[in-house]
Symmetry: C2
Subunit: 275 residues, 2 copies
Amino acid sequence: MKLKVAIQGIQGSFHHQVAHQYFGSSISLNECSSFNEVVKSLKSNTSDKAVMALENSIAGSILPNYALIDNNNLHIIGEFLLDIHMNLMVLPGQNIYDIKEVHSHPIALLQCANFFNEYPHIKLVESSDTAITAQRIQEQQLKGIGALASPVAASIYSLEIIASGVHTIKSNKTRFVILKSTNKEISKELITKASIKFELDDTSGALATVLNVLNNCKLNLTKIQSMPVIETPFKYAFFVDLVFEKYKHFEKAKSLLEIMTTHFKVLGEYKNAKL
Amino acid sequence: MKLKVAIQGIQGSFHHQVAHQYFGSSISLNECSSFNEVVKSLKSNTSDKAVMALENSIAGSILPNYALIDNNNLHIIGEFLLDIHMNLMVLPGQNIYDIKEVHSHPIALLQCANFFNEYPHIKLVESSDTAITAQRIQEQQLKGIGALASPVAASIYSLEIIASGVHTIKSNKTRFVILKSTNKEISKELITKASIKFELDDTSGALATVLNVLNNCKLNLTKIQSMPVIETPFKYAFFVDLVFEKYKHFEKAKSLLEIMTTHFKVLGEYKNAKL
């Protein structure tokens, strides 16, 4: 039986690309219209696993997805770094001066901002997805409108790429995580990264103390972000990613953080994807 | 001459509401199709000031907007906290069982997730904006489709609110900042908050040291988030918001951070909006 993998978006999306690169091509893809639908698909066991973007080079963390993982008690069991290549695609037979509007996801538009500065006649319009715009251009035969998406999307939706690699920065990585609704036991020797959450009162001193402990335990911080605790003014939650060489170092930090912080939670323990 | 204020979105959007509450009703509104257009409007002097959402109770920071402020050297000159009330609106004469799809901004959908769990027949579809969906329902006379937006949007686009206050948490605040392309001199006595950015190598120890300094200077942290520095692995930028009682405490911290960190930058010094 094929592994059922939920993604946000449709065929040709970057989530689709990650699902294939991580799990291979022999999977059953569940296309979801939103990240919320991805979560529902996991929790109802319609899908075994899910792929979810968590951060990219331009915009940093995609914070609503942290809230979804946390609130639904999902488990991060792996991560994948995808080099995103953005291409401008249109119905065949047009050139860039025929294009009046380019529709894409806000992050994709940001990633290509420098390219479009040279074409001020093109209006940038935010849409909900990269591949969906490519699909709509084909289905509705929209002339004068371009999509920013992957080469796979151009191929699936029969569009012509009129400018390739239009993203501004060369190393345009997006970090995706692999999610499960139940914890997967992975061998402790393989674990080199963890995503944790904890709460603190709003003194910079309390956070400094926690960071000193992490440092003393030989854990290195690869991400930190605070979120106000809902309906509790002056209380903050922190999402932190840590990398380490030995799992026992993380185990030591866990027992300390359980005492020093409130609502301490491990969102996932997994193998670090190399940069 | 009226003050020209750029917002992302159209009339009836939450940005529109903030512009009016902050500047009064006698302003000239520049409706922009993306946050990138908002920035262009400021930089070309088409607008004097801009309103930009930066964080909300559910999703935390809206990080792409931090990148826009930073990359374009805009100045935060004020902040505004808006209590967001979400309402489900449709073409008149329909009830909730007539509605097959609700389109809204991903964050708005998240904010109302609990409400829709009780109506599993409704498919949630991500769109780029709250008010734009309301406008489209009216213009295209879309039956069976609902929008989540403000009461003002329902009034402007002649839709009927069939469920009000459908957001899950009662205190659903979004933090907006007021932006200018040049720094506005505001009296030092009025400044009680600052947004700063700095870079550090990836040791939790380096960040702990910085936080200790902030704590010793009597500055309180209200937000921290890391962003990987583009194309520089293992180098991190941190965006930090600080509140303080005396400007001289912040001045002391500034001179220390200029020495202890790299690429230290003040994104704005302004008056703290009370919770």
